[in-house]
């Protein structure tokens, strides 16, 4: 028979073992959230498609047609859409995960399980949305394949899973922070929509990040311009564009910064989440 010893201040040692033990719960929670999300099938799936597509069309009109900004020699719609994919995933993971603990407060105050499971499953649901909207990208690629200026190097696409993982980790790291902060400070949720809205323009979704490095670099020097890469989505979006045939060369420095920031976010996010998690049931 299993014996469990719980000692004040020493619960940490069970933690990772527990996460493994509760993997089925994690699976079921993700499954529940996905089911619920797509329960009203047409609306659910349609929404995952419509949201990025409509936003992309808007951005194409504003940034490339009206403002005539560079599209790194890609067809404008592809240029925006491949950036919109990770961004949409990132932003929806942020907002879903940050509320996830509050919406599941009933469970948290009634049973034990590693709380990390809840924001993780929220991020998984957003990842499903990401996969669905990625399918639309296939349609767009076929539609644009005749563009003479654009050529799609197949071997670059092989690296997509790695870029997706980077996007996933960045989203998860920030989500952990926000989810924990949201339980601790109940007015934190008012800040999240702002972060998302702000981030949409702070990340190179509608424009090329090379514009930033050129203009800022010219004026303040290249090191100041590199501060822009501290936003982990800059690296992720650059990678995605590069994989889909952008003519801007692969910027290793920027990606290294992105990966570092992402890892820092994940580690500190888990640490902070663990630290506040102990008190969740007390304060939720």
């Amino acid at each position: 028979m299993q014996e469990l010893t719980i000692e004040a201040g020493k619960t940490e040692r069970h933690y990772w073992a527990d996460i493994w033990r509760y993997r089925e719960l994690f699976f079921f929670l993700s499954w529940r959230d996905i089911l619920v999300r797509y329960k009203q099938t047409v609306i659910g799936v349609l929404w995952a498609v419509l949201k990025p597509v409509l936003t992309t069309i808007m951005f194409v009109v504003v940034f490339t047609k009206l403002a005539k900004m560079s599209t790194e020699d890609m067809p404008p719609i592809i240029f925006v859409y491949v950036a919109m994919l990770p961004w949409q995933f990132f932003s929806s993971a942020l907002s879903e995960a940050s509320n996830s603990l509050i919406t599941n407060s009933n469970m948290i105050s009634k049973i034990y399980f590693p709380r990390l499971v809840i924001p993780a499953s929220a991020v998984i649901v957003c990842f499903m949305d990401f996969l669905i909207s990625a399918a639309i990208l296939g349609v767009l690629l076929i539609w644009c394949h005749a563009d003479p200026k654009w050529h799609l190097p197949a071997w670059r696409i092989v690296l997509l899973p790695a870029f997706t993982l980077l996007a996933f980790l960045a989203s998860f790291g920030i989500s952990l922070w926000l989810a924990a902060l949201n339980v601790k400070y109940r007015d934190f949720r008012y800040i999240i929509p702002f972060i998302v809205q702000f981030g949409l323009y702070a990340s190179p979704v509608g424009y090329s990040s090379s514009v930033v490095s050129e203009k800022v670099g010219l004026k303040y020097g290249p090191h100041i311009a590199q501060l822009y890469d501290l936003n982990p989505m800059v690296g992720v979006i650059n990678c995605f564009r590069w994989a889909f045939g952008s003519t801007v060369p692969f910027d290793t420095a920027s990606v290294v910064i992105s990966v570092t920031v992402t890892l820092l976010l994940i580690i500190s996010g888990i640490k902070y989440f663990r630290a506040t998690e102990k008190a969740f049931a007390d304060i939720i």
Binding site: M1, L4, I6, F28, R32, K110, I111, D187
Partner: protein
Amino acid sequence: MSDYAIKVEGLGKNYLLRHQAQGRRYIALRDVLADKAKRLFGRRSPISEPRNAKLEIFWALKDVSFEIKSGDAVGIIGRNGAGKSTLLKLLSRIIEPTTGRMRIRGRLASLLEVGTGFHPELTGRENIFLNGAILGMHRAEIKRKFDEIVAFAEVEKFLDTPVKRYSSGMYMRLAFAVAAHLEPEILVVDEVLAMGDAAFQKKCLGKMQDVSQGGRTVLFVSHNMEAITRLCPRCLYLVNGSLKLEGDTRAVIKAYSEHAKQTTAEIDLTSLRRSFEGTDEARLLRLRSLRSEAAGSWCFDYGTPLEFEIEFSVSRPIQDPEIGYQLFSTTGVQLASTSTAQALPLPALQPGRHQMRIALPDFFLNPGTYILGFSVSTSNRNIDNIGEAAQIEIIASKGSIEKKLHRIWAPLTPRAVFEMTGPGDAADAFVGEERGRQAA
């Protein structure tokens, strides 16, 4: 090696109470930032309180040690706030202990989890799997017991209907069926939290009996002394977070009712949380209980009249005042209220201190814990209102009525007159009166 199921050593749990934040449930970032800013700009004069003066450590549970043998059924009693629920939450790992250590052998499940994680949009089938996983069952285990669960809940026809279309009865049955098939080695039941649904409580108790007879360990928290006596040979008694007594249930319950009679006399209402911001025309100050088992305590014997005195100050004359009490269950359901508007129209209140006695001579509360609130208002505005002024406990200490009460789950037993007529009855009909008072 002894055959314990649960072994607890020096277990403690504390909370930091923020006095300034009273009445506010959550910390807001706004306030934290404002506080920091105040400190930065030196709004703290040398005579002001030290920085952590607002914090007070409250031990919900302190230095509790006990051992429960495998296969035992053990009751936990104590007044509200004694730490019973905290203890259960610690054992079920919902919260983490501040001090001490506990060892638990085997899977521990609590019946307060019933229906946790049910999602209204999902079908009955999906919810069984989900809820099973939440309660700690493996997928194979759920699959094996699936048919049994469905049969028990009697929902075969509606398995693929979203549970939001279920009747509340079906919903409860399904939720309970999953929990009932969990087969934990240690079962924890908190009656206080599960309160509200009589049929459900009965089922819980029935399940508990099955489990304890099946040789598994049961922990049972209840205010129902009769149920505890019936189900648990051994009992733990908590007072203010410490384990006061442990042993044979009858002896422990006796000590409990003795002790409960001696506690607290008067409640200072001035600092209690107000239900809503009233005007400052009047303020409730003090509350005394007058006719409990021992004068001044908040523990009443079943069937005895309740009588209180409240004191309040009035700063400006109040026309058409209304003063009343409200009675709530521990789950917050309002059970009764009466105000002077229904009894006697009060004359205008003049400035100064006033006392008012409120007697409930023919009250009919069944054993349990209740919450008493008081209000001062007029027909068009609230002046002062305290939702939780006192917790009162009704206990059934007299042996004779315990037997009658164990089937009663409703909070109230109003006085009722029963008249029977029919073949064989005497010409003047049989008249029986059932009321608590007789028993006392």
